[in-house]
């Protein structure tokens, strides 16, 4: 235990991770615009830099240098705190996700995660719930009817969809005890664990449900009801502009990246892949590719599935997803108990 291990390494790791996530966010917008454009028979951004690659930079500069407007009728401090509150949980949720196997850097064994807490799953769920506060406070402090409606929708939607999400995760945790006899709530442990092929198959059965919940959790189309442009103008962000708006945007996209990372970790083995034993750095590549592929699913759904109505969304959750996930959990429990 020296100061290098306790402070410096976690600090550097956090810094690198945050920078990577922010860059990831910037290029996520580029990726989304390009992919959606192709779905729409368009080109997408192609002016700034080669292939439009500098577009995110231009967007960032624009957002930062916009005039700061704080409407007079808002609750100022809450109004300012809300975007920050929305962004932080999205960032810190990443702390428990392993990005790759341990690497040998500068003569030190460096693990590619910030923290291997033994309650990794619970941590993810808890942090994701805190994200709701940012949205609700934004809607409330804006003192605007559209914002309020958007915020109320968010509250109901996120609370509802966390239930099936949590239940599926419980089922996943149950399966971890299959291989070694003792279960684990750690995401790092989950990736390192060897699991037989039929466990993978059984997990993939739950993937669609989990994915739908994640869509709702991240407020992505077709569950983007808190900010339905066509009904609520911009929902909870109506009164936000400039960099504050960008922070919400950032929160949403980093949420998406985090969600994809969780799905890649839980359902597709995280950084695992062929030849990782020989070249551990390959693990990072596998992880990134898996995350990008899951992110593509988000975009694909956005381009092709119409949005549901708010009450239908809630019905869908409580009358379909919730029972189905319960049944899935029950079957998993029985299987685990039998084997």
């Amino acid at each position: 235990m020296n100061w290098i291990e306790v402070f410096l390494i976690p600090f550097i790791k956090s810094l690198v991770l945050i920078l990577a996530l922010l860059t990831g966010f910037a290029y996520m917008t580029y990726y989304e615009r390009k992919v959606l454009a192709r779905f729409h028979v368009r080109y997408g951004p192609n002016r700034a830099g080669p292939f439009g690659l500098l577009q995110p930079v231009a967007d960032a500069i624009k957002a930062i240098f916009k005039e700061e407007i704080i409407p007079a009728h808002v609750d100022k401090w809450v109004y300012l705190a809300a975007p920050v509150l929305a962004l932080i949980p999205a960032l810190i949720a990443f702390a428990v996700i392993p990005i790759g196997p341990d690497l040998n850097l500068f003569g030190r064994q460096v693990s590619l995660y910030i923290a291997d807490v033994n309650i990794g799953f619970l941590y993810v769920l808890a942090v994701a719930s805190v994200g709701t506060y940012g949205v609700i406070l934004a809607g409330w402090s804006s003192n605007n009817n559209y914002s309020l409606l958007g915020a109320l929708r968010t509250a109901a939607q996120m609370v509802s969809y966390e239930l099936p999400l949590g239940i599926i995760l419980v089922a996943v945790v149950l399966t971890t005890s299959l291989a070694t006899g003792e279960g684990s709530l750690s995401l790092v442990g989950l990736v390192q664990q060897e699991r037989p092929w039929w466990v993978w198959l059984w997990l993939w059965v739950a993937f669609p449900i989990f994915f739908i919940c994640m869509l709702a959790e991240t407020n992505r189309s077709p569950f983007d009801l808190p900010e339905t442009e066509n009904e609520l103008v911009a929902g909870f962000q109506t009164e936000y502009g400039g960099i504050k708006f960008a922070l919400f945007f950032m929160a949403e996209y980093i949420h998406m990246i985090t969600a994809s990372a969780i799905m890649a970790t839980v359902f597709f083995g995280g950084w695992q892949g062929p030849f990782v034993d020989r070249w551990p750095a390959l693990g990072i590549l596998y992880f990134v590719v898996k995350v990008i592929l899951v992110l593509f699913l988000f975009l694909w759904v956005r381009a092709s599935v119409p949005r549901v109505r708010y009450d239908q969304l809630m019905h869908f959750c409580w009358k379909f997803l919730f029972p189905v996930s319960l049944v899935y959990l029950a079957i998993t429990a029985v299987l685990v108990a039998l084997l």
Binding site: H40, L149, N230, R302, R307, R309, Q312
Partner: protein, 605 residues
Amino acid sequence: MTSVAPATVADPVETKEFRDVEARLRERFPAAVLDVERAFGEVDFTVRAADLLSVARFLRDEPGLEFVHLADLTAVDRSALPPRQRKPGDKRFAGIYHLFSFSGRRRIRLTVPAEGPDSKPTIPSLYPLWRSAFCMEREAYDLMGIHYEGHPDLRRIMMPWDWVGHPLRKDEPLGGEEVPFSMTWNDPEFATLGKQIMDPPPTKAPLPKGVDPTQHMVLNLGPHHPATHGVLRIALELDGERIVSAHPDTGYLHSGFEKQGEHVRYKDFVPYTDRMDYTSAMCNNLGYCLAVEKLLGVEIPPRAQAIRVVVAELQRIAAHLIWLATHILDTSGTGMSLLMYALREREMILDIFEMICGARMTVSYVRIGGVWKDVPPAFVPKVEEFCDLFLRRLDEYERMLSRSVVLRKRLEGIGVLSKEDAISLGVTGPLLRGSGVYYDLRKLAPYSGYDRYEFDVPLSNRGDSWGRYEVRMQEMRQSIRIIRQALEDVKRTEGEPCKTTDRKVALPPRDELDTSMEALIHHFKLVTEGIKPPPGEVYFGHENPKGELGFYIVSDGGPKPYRLRVRGPSFVNIFATDTMARGQLLSDLIAIIGSIDIVLGEVDR
């Protein structure tokens, strides 16, 4: 499911002279009918104001008459008419009503002289009989200053609330005065304009009648809202997300086309029609030209008629594509893809328009007496190519949309409009047909040779947004059917004139000017004076993509219309929102507005 209408409809009652209507009216109300006039194949009953309600009720409910559709309601200021068109004892203002009978397939006009002084001419309101009178009477009140007794909420609808006077009165000048928009500096609502965000004004917008802000949340939807398609404002009374009442507020885009029409020559009004419902410019051109041609009594050569039908149907498809794109975008959000696909097809139509007249949206291609110019040789193959391609693309859309469970759930049972409500509210076009009423003027009062083409009128008995969606999707297929048949006519009449040979209406060909003195004189007269139709009044209604677009023209024999009234389908349709939206959710309102398919340029004119 869409039911295709019966191929044959009731034959029109063969009484061009409307003798039966006159006889029954005179028998029932001996003192009410002051005068009967017949001209241009129309009949005009002058009815005493005091008896209007009972006469209208009789006309609506009496078996054999059944004039159930209040097609148009407006007013005329007759103070500047030349003496030969005025009868002794004529009142200055007259209410004009057009009633249509679905069963008899005929239209009559009631002229009701307004009682009272010029400052407050009064006519009883027709609101108890037709709810469509709500918006049209408000418009006549706003623009002409007629007071309708018994109207529930008679206030301005187009002009700003502090406007003094009534613009369509003949003593109101056209120009030279300050033109206030709805934001004027002495409007207390806008006293803090530009500071609203930083320093909110303590003023409150006046609430529509019957809205209770202490019980419910009042949401101001628009005029700058992504889903209102322009500057429409709807004052919503919400209970949670459920709609208690919805009050459309129009007039933000009012540009006084009717007043303009009284100050330009007949042919010069064609470009104005482009700008009313800018998604269906060709159809507007056609409707206006047909109205003037009815007044002139000119014969249009078959080639021009066929070309008109082709371009009008192409425009109908283009307009429906815009509707499809925006409607799906509004209801589903993800319909961005569909928006792009639909615009891709519309682009082909606009390319065809560009080829025939050089303009893409504001075409002014259909002219009085024919069309501007003959179509180029590439026109026919291009349209054929479009027809083939479009049917395939339409199948693609239907695969994407009609089978989508999510979309069905969004549209089914939303904004239900019963048959009775639809007729009472005066809605027309796909909105009315979506409620199962067989009303398509291309069939009921054929023009431009539509009676020669075979096509069905898609109907749906559902009355909800899904029904209207199906009707419009089917209509696009029927339009392709009509285009194919009309295109055969275009091919067959190759080389024939596409303008009337009546030299008092259309310019002579250029080469004739070198050889013929006559032609030169006609040319000179037409260019300097313009067309001079005979005195009289006509109403012509035609089937626009959005519904019945009617032009009511009063001519005093001069080169400019004396009164030009435009009956915009969107204007009447949008006032059905309240009936359709009550009890639905806020999200449904968006689906409802989308399924009404409005263009604000036409609502406000």
